[in-house]
């Protein structure tokens, strides 16, 4: 009790020491006076009385010191002193302070920013309550894209009913395209993107409406009134954040649709499930309407019951899968999903693919931090050399070694603290910017923000770096021999030689780290170049696409033939009008553009050949118009579809080379050529292959192209129509004329975006580009810091050797000789660093191998060019001091000191 009281009082005394000190002074003065009075009463002279009084007090300063020690916290007092002294000395050396803080701010800022990204993508739970219970249910990754990662409504119902591990299972319609919703407010229809979800979607995720309500089972029944939930962003952008929006109805896709709620800003469908895309509205998916027969359309997401382990969920899914049917009306499809129902934590599904990239990124910024620390160490050593005498003097005056190390560590802490402060601000700006890069296809990017964890990390790494860069100079200086330092007035003393050796070691390690960074960045850059040079199977430049709205519905059209005919008529007109626009070379439509969504419809097989059992995935299906291949720049062998391919003529298809080659392996086609061959389509009409086309990268740029099959949209039903236009001009210049033409023919055509096809490719490689750019800029930063380090050390040693160089030159050494000597020593340091760095890179190359594309992790060209680059930079940073040295005037040099 009395001790806590004392602690509080001591703290209080530490804070308000001035009045207490005054009090003590008064008290001591009174004490002295009493003693003098007493002594004089005993007959001493005033002088003697005062002298004796002071002796019996035993030193005023000692009394003060002991009092303060008992009263407050000496440690804190000392720290305050050190801090004051540090700030004063940094203030007097502004160039050093600015450089040091700048280096630290860059390094720490990069670290915090990357930590925030890692934290968001890997460490932090998903932005849902109890997010660890959420699982993504899909087959193991296969060739056939989204279609194989989805389930039919019958399968979904069976899985939901048959599983006991889940609180509930939900899902969404996986094949909604961008701009699939057209909002009609009177003027031109406004395009927007909506996603159909199963009505329990928000209950499963644990998301509540910010206003109004989320879906109920009634909203998804047959004949239910159309309702919509607005995302927060769309509500703000399109509806000016109208607080009374709930209950209002709007014309969406021609139906009066009631807004039942607004979702919270924290819910971003795109960020979690479809990176790099924006979703404006959510609509309920009616499982018992037409989607019943659409095949595999639902992605499944489940929420496990509390306490259910992943292992149990996986086992159970494997037991339930055989009972799931593609279509309950076709018992032969039951069991199709065997081995294809595997729950994984939703978090892993979303961020798992990025784990390796993030680790590489994290290592890169770690290396930057180390380089910065080494640089700081060097700067402090140089500064310390200039201050050696100061410390020697303090030591001679009685400062203990620990006290001096403490002073130096305080300096390091202050520097790194300031660096961290600016670094934090830098990172905040960077993170803010990243969070608004909607075009980068990385999940959860929009949820990126600075939080308590980032702050904690900042504190941690600033203390860590202060220790790292402060310890060597601290020990080095405090350990110096007082006598030697005081005596060591000039160059050539052994202490300084030792000093220089430490600095050389630091430079070598810096170069080695920079070398590793450069090699990593070089490999990633080369991979990225290779990705850009991939033959995509289409020509992304000089083409653009726009979503066309059309009405091909025909009443009482049982088999869809009438609407197919109508579609043909509509688009024959559209395409001929658009093709006639000046500058248009070719035009055609497709329902899914490459590098976006896709679907599969089963596996057609050569007619008369028995189909092997073990193939479970079919080719991706695209429904196209005549002219599409030419518009995309995809080469056809055989013939394109024509307007005369109609519902009542023979069913024609085109397939890609990979699929043709696969089929040719089973059928005895003359010359293995698929053109002109017939495929059987599991009970449907026979498919006549009229053309074989190039493999198109349908899912990603850096993977292998899969199988593809193309149907004419006059014989199969497309899910949408993306009009692709090829031109010799800048595609953007066609946006106006094309839209105007479409409007003329259909006033309901929304002002949909006219997207250059190149944009699709950029989007697909944006994740890779993002990482590559980050690592390359970190490597650039590392290179800069290493150059600074080399420059610092060499120029310091030149300054130190001024006299020696002067003597040499006086004795006849030429300027070239002096320069050569210095450059040689620079290059020697750099070479040692490079050798170590290359060795470490070779050893660590495995880490990065999975991120490379078409590049060996031991790529000779990259290693060679990076080593050369580093050597050149080193030579350059050594040349400046070398040049300075060669200009030394011997007489002046010898006169100094």
């Amino acid at each position: 009790m009395s001790e806590t009281l004392r602690l509080a009082k001591r703290l209080w005394a530490f804070i308000r020491r001035r009045p207490l000190d005054d009090d003590l002074e008064d008290e001591l003065a009174a004490h002295l006076q009493f003693a003098i009075d007493d002594n004089m009463a005993r007959g001493m002279s005033p002088t003697e009385a005062r002298r004796m009084a002071l002796i019996s007090i035993g030193g005023m300063d000692q009394a003060r010191y002991k009092h303060r020690e008992a009263r407050g916290f000496m440690t804190l007092d000392i720290f305050k002193q050190d801090l004051k002294y540090t700030l004063r000395s940094l203030w007097h050396d502004p160039s050093f302070t600015v450089v040091a803080v700048l280096i630290l701010a860059l390094a720490i800022g990069a670290n915090i920013a990357v930590f925030s990204v890692v934290n968001t993508l890997l460490l932090r739970p998903l932005p849902f309550p109890n997010a660890h219970e959420l699982v993504w249910i899909a087959p193991p990754p296969t060739k056939c894209g989204m279609s194989c990662a989805t389930y039919s409504t019958d399968a979904y119902d069976e899985f939901r009913a048959g599983s006991r591990s889940y609180q509930d299972v939900t899902g969404y319609f996986a094949f909604s395209g961008a701009d699939n919703l057209s909002l009609n407010l009177g003027g031109a229809p406004i395009p927007a993107t909506s996603i159909d979800v199963i009505q329990n979607f928000f209950q499963v995720l644990g998301v509540h409406a910010q206003m109004g309500r989320v879906f109920t089972p009634e909203d998804a029944r047959n004949g239910a009134a159309p309702v919509v939930l607005l995302t927060n962003a769309w509500w703000k952008r399109q509806f000016n954040a109208d607080p009374g929006i709930v209950g209002k109805a709007f014309d969406m896709n021609g139906q009066q649709t009631t807004v039942i709620g607004v979702l919270p800003a924290s819910f971003d469908f795109g960020a979690v499930f479809a990176p790099g895309t924006k979703v404006d509205a959510i609509t309920p998916l009616n499982l018992y309407g037409p989607p019943r027969d659409w095949g595999n359309i639902i992605t499944m997401i489940g929420r496990l019951k509390p306490g259910v382990t992943m292992g149990r969920a996986v086992d159970e899914a494997a037991r339930v899968a055989p009972a799931m049917c593609w279509n309950n009306k076709h018992p032969e499809t039951c069991g199709d999903y065997k081995g294809g129902v595997v729950p994984v934590p939703l978090k892993d599904y979303i961020g798992g693919k990025l784990r390796r990239s993030l680790i590489v990124l994290w290592s890169a910024v770690g290396a930057i931090l180390l380089i910065a620390c080494v640089n700081l160490s060097n700067l402090l050593l140089a500064r310390g050399a200039a201050r050696a005498k100061e410390f020697a003097m303090r030591g001679a005056l009685g400062a203990s070694r620990g006290r001096i190390v403490r002073q130096l560590l305080t300096e390091s802490l202050v520097l790194s603290g300031m660096g961290a402060m600016f670094g934090f601000m830098l990172a905040a700006v960077l993170v803010q910017w990243l969070a608004h890069q909607g075009a980068i296809a990385l999940p959860l990017l929009s949820t990126l923000h600075m939080d308590g964890a980032a702050l904690g990390w900042t504190v941690l790494i600033s203390i860590f770096s202060a220790t790292i860069f402060g310890i060597v100079p601290g020990l080095r200086m405090a350990g110096g021999n007082v006598y030697e330092s005081l005596k060591d007035a000039g160059p050539g003393a052994t202490a300084s030689r030792k000093h220089e050796r430490i600095r050389s070691v630091l430079v070598v390690s810096e170069v080695a780290l920079a070398c590793m960074l450069l090699v990593g960045a070089g490999l990633l850059l080369r991979s990225f170049m290779n990705v850009l040079n991939v033959d995509l199977g289409f020509e992304p430049d000089h083409a653009a696409a726009i979503k066309v709205s059309y009405d091909d519905s025909v009443p009482n059209d049982k088999d869809g033939n009438l609407s197919a005919q109508k579609r043909g008529v509509i688009f024959q007109q559209i395409l001929s009008r658009v093709s006639a626009l000046p500058g248009v070379e070719a035009a055609g439509t497709v329902d899914y553009l490459p590098l976006g969504q896709n679907r599969a419809w089963g596996l057609p097989f050569p007619k008369g050949v028995k189909r092997p059992k073990n193939i479970d995935s079919g080719p991706l299906v695209y429904v196209i118009s005549p002219g599409y291949m030419r518009a995309m720049g995809t080469a056809i062998r055989g013939r394109d579809f024509g307007w005369s391919d109609l519902p009542n003529t023979e069913q024609v298809i085109m397939i890609n080379r990979s699929f043709a080659k696969f089929l040719a392996g089973f059928a005895k086609w003359p010359g293995g050529d698929a053109v002109g061959q017939v495929l059987a389509n599991g009970g449907g009409r026979d498919l006549h292959v009229v053309g074989v086309v190039d493999d198109v990268h349908e899912e990603n740029v850096d993977g292998d192209a899969g199988w593809q099959i193309y149907y004419p949209f006059t014989q199969a039903s497309p899910s949408a129509a993306e009009l692709v236009v090829r031109t010799r001009m800048n595609p953007a210049s066609l946006a106006g004329p094309v839209l105007a033409t479409l409007r003329e023919m259909n006033p309901k055509q929304p002002a949909a975006e006219f997207k250059p096809i190149r944009l699709l490719v950029n989007h697909a490689v944006s994740g890779r580009q993002f990482f590559m750019l980050l690592v390359v800029s970190f490597a650039g930063l590392g290179l800069l810091l290493a150059a600074l380090g080399i420059y610092g050390v060499i120029s310091y040693s030149v300054t130190r050797q001024t006299q020696e160089i002067g003597i040499r030159m006086a004795l006849g050494a030429s300027a070239a000789h002096v320069r050569g000597r210095i450059l040689t020593s620079t290059l020697r340091l750099a070479l040692i660093g490079i050798v170590i760095g290359v060795g470490a890179s070779l050893a660590g190359a495995k880490l990065i191998a999975a991120l490379l594309f078409g590049t060996s992790p031991w790529d000779l060209a990259t290693y060679g060019s990076m080593a050369l680059l580093l050597l050149m930079i080193a030579a350059l940073s050594g040349y400046i001091p070398a040049f300075r040295a060669s200009r030394i005037n011997p007489t002046v040099a010898l006169r100094t000191n």
Binding site: S2, E3, L5, R6, K9, R10, A13, D23, L24, D26, E27, L28, A30, H31, Q33, F34, A35, D37, D38, S56, I57, G58, G59, M60, Q62, A63, K66, H67, E69, A70, R71
Partner: protein, 119 residues
């Protein structure tokens, strides 16, 4: 200073101050220091200045209290007096010292016979 003087053990000064204040009532720092020197017949080595560290320690623990007052010869001085908590503490500390003194006495006066007597 004469080498025969006793060095003060840790904590003993605090106890002396408390005892002095109990007996003498309210006193200033110089008075306490002189009183201790007189009672010890100048046997303890006391730098009078160290008394102030002891005083601030005791005051922070709430065992003594202080106020500024005027001395007999009209000088301003800080006067200290013991509190109720201080008196309790003094009693406890004094008991402890008594026991320690007894133990030390027995230890220092032990001889061979004591060993035998115990056995």
């Amino acid at each position: 200073m004469s080498p025969e003087k006793l060095d003060l053990l840790q904590g003993t000064l605090d106890l002396m101050v408390l005892q002095t204040l109990t007996v003498m009532g309210s006193m200033h720092g110089y008075g306490i220091a002189r009183r201790i020197e007189q009672v010890s017949a100048d046997e303890v080595l006391l730098n009078q200045g160290t008394i102030y560290a002891s005083l601030v320690r005791l005051e922070q623990r709430g065992w003594i209290s202080s106020h500024w007052g005027t001395s007999d010869n009209n000088r301003k001085a800080k006067y200290y007096s013991i509190t109720a908590a201080g008196k309790r503490q003094l009693a406890a500390d004094a008991r402890y010292w008594e026991r320690l003194k007894d133990v030390m006495e027995r230890v220092l006066t032990m001889d061979k016979s004591a060993e035998g007597a115990d056995a």
